[in-house]
Symmetry: C2
Subunit: 122 residues, 2 copies
DNA sequence: ATAACACATGAACGTTTATTCATATATTAT
DNA sequence: ATAATATATGAATAAACGTTCATGTGTTAT
């Protein structure tokens, strides 16, 4: 009968059992998905971008107005909108000189609400 | 009759209407909450921490085993566990020399699932 | 054509952050 | 006591990030 003890390189401790390792491997999404997930949350990890998204929850809006509501530079907002655009969280439509930004995702609000639940829990 | 046109300092454009500003102010949580929210997502915005949390979805685990599963240094994992602890996302229990970490929040999985939904949508 | 305006973008700067390395603390075994 | 082990942590380093400043692009009005 074969002994299924685990022996992992870089670590001397042998507390883990094979069934737990197997379970972890089942539960764990692909490396690429985990990377993308971290990238997404990195986008949410900035107050300015969070504020922009909350503003857009209320209404589509032009860059200049977002900047004015948040009391920030047009340039700063524009840079951040680019990040949000790249993550496909916002979309835009042009109307003459003006560019109107709006939300391009249904999950954002729910993610934020879950986040606030965590914060307000304890 | 008073004209309710909006005139905001730092910005020349006057596209916004008062009712939209009002709506934004209703929808927007307090400054402090927005800050905390960004801080929380900052914690999720790192592949190592995401992986640690996914490992803990499967089972409570000691530092050494997490390090071994993720193929990383014990020190690196320990530093990151500290961040997760500070955000009250994980808790620990000591058993002799060993410290077992486990999840301390019910929202994490749902937040991650919503995030993955966004990623896999388009 | 020229000026004015809304927005985008590249470079630079200061700050934050993740990992590494060395070392400290705490527990267990001899 | 001493050694071994599991974990924590401070300092250092390199990379990533957000804002500012200056300037570029495209549209509208004169």
């Amino acid at each position: 009968m074969v002994d299924h003890k685990v022996d992992i390189e870089s670590c001397e401790c042998n507390i883990i059992h094979q069934n737990i390792i197997d379970k972890v491997k089942e539960t764990m999404p692909e490396e690429e998905h985990l990377y993308d997930l971290a990238e997404l949350f990195k986008v949410f990890g900035d107050t300015t971008r969070i504020k922009i998204l909350y503003v857009l929850f209320a209404s589509e809006m032009c860059v200049c107005d977002i900047a004015s509501i948040l009391g920030m530079t047009q340039s700063a907002i524009s840079h951040q909108l680019r990040v949000l655009k790249q993550s496909r969280l916002v979309k835009y439509r042009k109307e003459g000189k003006t560019v109107f930004y709006s939300l391009d995702d249904n999950h954002i609000k729910q993610i934020f609400d879950q986040g606030l639940s965590h914060i307000n829990e304890k």
